[in-house]
């Protein structure tokens, strides 16, 4: 009831940065972890990220710093990984992406797409060999599923792995849009075999493997994206992931990574909202701060409401994941809605900043451009819509 004596805020007051007091839903440990990542982002990413974006680079050295903090494979148990809750992983993704989607992508790919399949489907020797060094950031991984002619429909992939009489596997084909590809020491590559889809751990110095960088991107520029070329790459059976026998293998990895993205997108949205809020209170036109115009207030309020709703959604899904009852369709709900809302916020914030909104002096257009990739990768907005459509109608609209 509004007559509660403890009611701290009066009419016309509210915390612009945590309007719904979502902080109280986090444990002390979760807040400390969140604050630590926020500080790391403030110290190590924000000061330079505009330059990385402009130059189209992501500094490889960041891997060890992220590893020392515990960011890499943080939600996995054992093998040098921190073993945090899903909510903690989500909070870290949110703070990282409030810095840049590229930094969050690096962590998603390393932890959820490269380490997770080894952790989940690998042999004990494979886990011992790779995971501790990947957790420390000494070894960088990438994940090769998408191909030039196989995007939303990955089961149409053409990359093949053929078993030789001697027992070795020979991989041929090419992968496209692979985050971290050219800076990776190891690639988890998915290929078609006579028995179905299989996963392979490919050290990137294996003869026949190359990873040319994809240039001319205008999105996720502070992240390396590459092609993977596999030309008679010979691998021993010991580098095949023994526990994967179908497309379910790579799809389960994507489900892990999407969970991080549905948090991360809220971070990008929050950064844009905060930039717009701050700017609009400082910028004076017609003799008054632009934040005092009704049209601007509508924008700011819509942004604030979306950031809060997205955070609540992410937290709800995170608690469900920690309780072991989150379905992949529910992850689709979060990925579809939080990313599109973040993109909406970014575009709206961009308009509030006027001409300044198109420069890298402010974070907004960087986030806006990044979010176009986030909208597409890990299942496009349309694909997640169809997942949800099928979930509620029972009818498949994919083909």
């Amino acid at each position: 009831m509004s007559t509660h004596p403890d009611q701290a805020r009066k009419f016309g007051e509210g915390d612009p940065h945590d309007f719904l007091d979502i902080d109280v839903l986090l444990s002390e440990e979760e807040r400390l972890l969140r604050d630590t990542v926020r500080q790391f982002v403030g110290d190590k990413i924000l000061p330079d990220v505009a330059d990385w974006f402009e130059a189209g680079t992501f500094p490889k050295e960041m891997a060890r710093e992220m590893g020392a903090l515990g960011l890499l494979g943080m939600h996995l148990e054992g093998y040098g990984c921190a073993g945090t809750s899903a909510v903690a992983y989500g909070l870290a993704c949110l703070e990282l992406e409030a810095g840049d989607s590229g930094a969050r992508s690096f962590v998603s790919v390393q932890g959820s797409l490269a380490m997770f399949p080894i952790w989940k489907f690998g042999s004990e020797e494979q886990k011992q060999e790779w995971l501790p060094r990947m957790a420390a950031g000494e070894v960088i991984g990438c994940f090769g599923l998408t191909e030039p002619d196989s995007g939303s429909d990955p089961s149409s992939m053409r990359t093949t792995a053929k078993r030789e009489p001697g027992g070795d596997w020979i991989l041929n084909g090419s992968k496209m849009w692979i985050t971290n590809g050219s800076i990776a020491d190891v690639a988890v590559v998915w290929a078609r075999t006579d028995e179905g889809i299989r996963g392979f751990i490919v050290p990137t110095d294996t003869p026949g493997f190359s990873a040319p960088v994809i240039h001319k991107k205008l999105s996720l520029r502070a992240s390396i994206t590459s092609e993977l070329v596999l030309d008679d790459v010979r691998l021993p059976e010991s580098l095949r992931l023994p526990e994967v026998t179908s497309m379910r293998g790579p799809l389960s990895c994507l489900n892990e990574a999407r969970f991080g993205i549905l948090w991360g997108a809220v971070g990008a949205g929050r950064a844009c909202y905060e930039a717009a809020l701050e700017y609009s209170k400082e910028r004076v036109q017609f003799g008054t701060p632009i934040a005092s115009f009704q049209l601007t207030q509508r924008k700011l309020v819509e942004m604030m409401v979306r950031v809060n709703k997205g955070t609540l959604l992410a937290l709800h899904l995170g608690r469900m994941k920690d309780e072991g009852r989150l379905s992949s369709a529910q992850v689709s709900f979060g990925k579809m809605d939080n990313v599109r809302e973040a993109l909406w916020i970014a575009r709206e914030a961009r308009s509030v900043l006027g001409a300044n909104g198109i420069t890298l002096e402010y974070p907004v257009i960087r986030h806006m451009n990044n979010l176009e990739s986030v909208y597409t990768y890990e299942g496009t907005n349309e694909v997640h819509t169809l997942v949800l459509g099928q979930a509620i109608t029972g009818l498949n609209a994919f083909r």
Partner: protein, 260 residues
Amino acid sequence: MNIVVCVKQIPDPAEPGALDPNTKTLKRDGKLILDESDSYGVEMALQLADAAGGGEVTLVSMAPNSETSGLRTALAMGAAKSVLVSDPALSGTDALGTAKILAAAIKRVEGADLILTATESSDGYTGTVPEQIAELLGLPSITFAKSIAIDGGTVKVQRQTEAGYDECEAPLPAVVSVTAGVVEPRYPSFKGIMAAKSKPVDEVDCAALGIDPGSVGWAGGGQEIVTVEAAPAREAGEVVEDDGTGFEKIVAFLDNLKVI
């Protein structure tokens, strides 16, 4: 090498602070965090324990309402355990009272070879507590350390001065205050954060420390805050026309401020 670090938990400086009009002191009933100026001492202590090849870092803190969130940050950085003094009777305690409490709390830590503090807190700025603790414990005190090394039973300190640094030594145990900014405090690692919640916090009150509540808090205060005034508005700056010697004037100005 067992090291005690005194750490203060203060209102987050990023949030606007407020004075209590009745007590004329800072309101400290909200969330408190680890004073950044103490994070350097924690880092220094962790490095010294590492260099010595063993030993524990113990935190000592006095805070209202059983506050531990700042302690958890330092425990997550790697400190092993902590002593927390919390007692309603401590509200209003002045610098000397604080030193009495901290000295008594330090005595609870067995086998402390070295006691580190910041040079001053970021919310109170009295800058007197470290030396008072040393006096109360009857230990040597070195202030403004920019680097610390242990050599057998001796602590060797580079003590920052305006012109450079002094080299000082004292027999252990000793109390050393650490200048802010001289080391880069580590981030709490995620493993550290998760381990921190199960690290012991020994919470005590005045009675447990054998301190008469009447000798601390408002009752025991040796000082009274008479009035609190808003800071004066900034005065207009001086405009210097550059007639070719402008740079000299800038250098002289900065020199006068002792910033170069």
